[in-house]
């Protein structure tokens, strides 16, 4: 089978492959020679399972994520839809102000839908969002968890704030648009979460 690696991180590699005549993406978690077999196997299978569960929960919450075709817990492979779209990271700076605002509000609404269901993505950056057919799809739930605490939701948004500040520094009002969309869609009081973001900034470590 022809296989092309499109991304290699510390924990997994992302390959383009074929599955039942579909173009698919495989997220393959890597075996690590430094850890003993018991720990390696257990981490790979539980993390694959957790990530799959979060993707399913996200879809049920009304956020677009790649369709999952197959999961192999032993090998640590998630086979999913290949989204032929563009990363938000690569297009956001080139949009006109109106479109940028529209997209950011949409992102905020999607994050609120996660948080309404206690889904913490764990790594919300503009490289983990793909725009396709005017829809924003979220990828890479590898650091995610289910958590109802305000703290976790604040940290989740704070990661995006930092990502916007570093990659889209000229358009720092983007994050305000995100918060605007977030507030509209969130079922609990968004101000509590916003206050938490301020607390996190003050801790200093995260500046």
């Amino acid at each position: 089978m022809i296989e092309k690696i499109i991304y290699q991180g510390a924990e997994a590699k992302i390959c383009i492959s074929r599955y039942m005549n579909f173009n698919v993406v495989e997220k393959r978690r890597l075996k690590k020679g430094y850890r003993i077999k018991q720990i390696d196997e257990s981490l790979i299978s539980t993390r694959t399972k957790e990530e799959t569960k979060l993707m399913i929960a996200a879809r049920q919450a009304g956020v677009s994520v790649p369709i999952i075709y197959d999961v192999d817990l032993l090998k640590g492979i998630i086979t999913m839809e290949y989204l032929k779209g563009k990363r938000i990271k690569d297009i956001l700076n080139d949009l006109d102000e109106k479109d940028r605002m529209r997209i950011c509000i949409k992102i905020g609404k999607s994050i609120a839908r996660f948080h309404n269901n206690d889904i913490i993505h764990g790594d919300i950056t503009t490289s983990n969002m793909i725009i396709l057919d005017n829809k924003i799809h979220f990828i890479d739930f590898g650091l995610g968890e289910i958590n109802s605490e305000i703290e976790a939701k604040g940290v989740d948004l704070h990661v995006l704030m930092e990502a916007i500040e570093s990659t889209h520094s000229k358009y720092s009002d983007c994050f305000n648009y995100v918060l605007e969309g977030y507030k509209k869609e969130l079922k609990q009081d968004a101000n509590q979460v916003f206050k938490k973001i301020q607390d996190i900034v003050k801790r200093g470590r995260y500046r």
Binding site: A10, K32, R35, I36, I39, R205
Partner: protein, 331 residues
């Protein structure tokens, strides 16, 4: 340029003398005296008394071993923090007294940054590493980014050395328990499940410590528990280090701190580095543990970059964070 550095953040009082030669660090002497409590952990006041009692002897021995005259010393540096208040104050007082008596400038330095710089200063080809700094109190993954040494991951509760020491004390081993646990672990065969706690890039050990103590109370073999503690905690440390390397796109990894003496930890980080075609570095043992030479070397780097400190401003800072230091000596 020659600098004399006084280290005194926790259990060790140490005086090191180093010389700068072509931007590399030559260690002329590095005398370390470690406080070992008769029982229990480090009592800050007892440790400080120990340091006050021995600092003059250590200082003299260090100058003798360096074969220099005190007039050849250009700067005096000391560990400004982070650390135990009474210990820091004792070392700082000694540094102030020396600085005033030989009439040479004083400079206070960050202990964690010193652990990283001594690697860069003494090892060939170690230029821009990610540091895995593991000691009793500290467990941090540090790398240079945008003018500072930033903490990419760290413990959320206790340091790895502290975790091992606490377990060791609970089962009757002597302080420091690291070497004893390492030896027992070699005889361990059965892996007992322990919590593997990573949150993003941060780690936690306290849950694992409780679980390990429970295994001991349930009469599991001590060798197996030690084996399982090492395998679990070191795997988590190695994983966080690897993530920081991927994130910062750096290709060097450096170990520092007392736990870096552990052969299994070295082996694991080395395997990780090999798997990603990165270089692996460990300083000599006496430069890994708390030591005066690293304090001296950072003093030189800071002084050469134009940083000055007056005796009246030579405060200590118990909570001196790694990322509070402006790294003026690097591009």
């Amino acid at each position: 340029m020659i600098c004399l550095g006084i280290e005194g953040t926790a259990h060790s009082i140490s005086v090191g003398i180093v010389k700068e030669i072509n931007r590399k660090c030559k260690v002329l002497s590095n005398v370390i005296k470690i406080y070992r409590p008769a029982q229990g952990g480090i009592h800050p006041r007892e440790a400080a008394n120990h340091h006050a009692l021995y600092v003059a002897d250590v200082l003299k021995e260090s100058v003798d071993k360096a074969k220099i005259d005190s007039s050849e010393i250009d700067i005096v540096s000391f560990s400004k923090g982070p650390g135990l208040g009474p210990c820091l104050r004792t070392a700082a007082t000694a540094a102030r007294a020396l600085s005033l008596s030989i009439n040479k400038p004083i400079i206070g330095v960050n202990h964690c940054v010193a652990h990283l710089e001594i690697g860069r200063g003494t090892l060939d080809n170690c230029s821009d590493p990610v540091l895995l700094y593991t000691s009793g109190a500290n467990t941090q993954v540090i790398a240079f980014a945008e003018g500072k040494y930033r903490v990419f991951g760290e413990t959320l509760d206790i340091g790895i050395g502290n975790c091992i020491d606490k377990f060791g004390r609970a089962v009757g081993l002597d302080f420091p328990c690291g070497p004893a646990v390492e030896k027992l672990a070699l005889e361990g065969k059965k892996y007992l499940n322990l919590p593997y706690s990573i949150k993003g890039m941060d780690i936690a050990f306290s849950g694992l410590l409780t679980a390990a103590e429970q295994y001991y109370n349930n009469k599991e073999k001590l060798e197996d528990i030690c084996f399982s503690i090492q395998e679990t905690t070191f795997a988590a440390l190695t994983e966080v280090t690897e993530r920081a390397m991927a994130h910062t796109e750096k290709h060097e990894v450096l170990l520092g701190g007392g736990v870096a003496a552990n052969k299994r930890l070295r082996e694991m980080v080395n395997i990780m580095a090999n798997e990603r075609d990165a270089s692996f570095f460990v300083p000599d043992k006496d430069l890994c543990i708390d030591n005066g030479a690293m304090i001296a070397w950072l003093g030189i780097l800071m002084y050469n970059s134009g940083i000055r400190m007056k005796v009246e401003n030579s405060f200590i800072d118990q909570r001196f964070r790694t990322d509070m230091v402006d790294v003026t000596w690097r591009d």
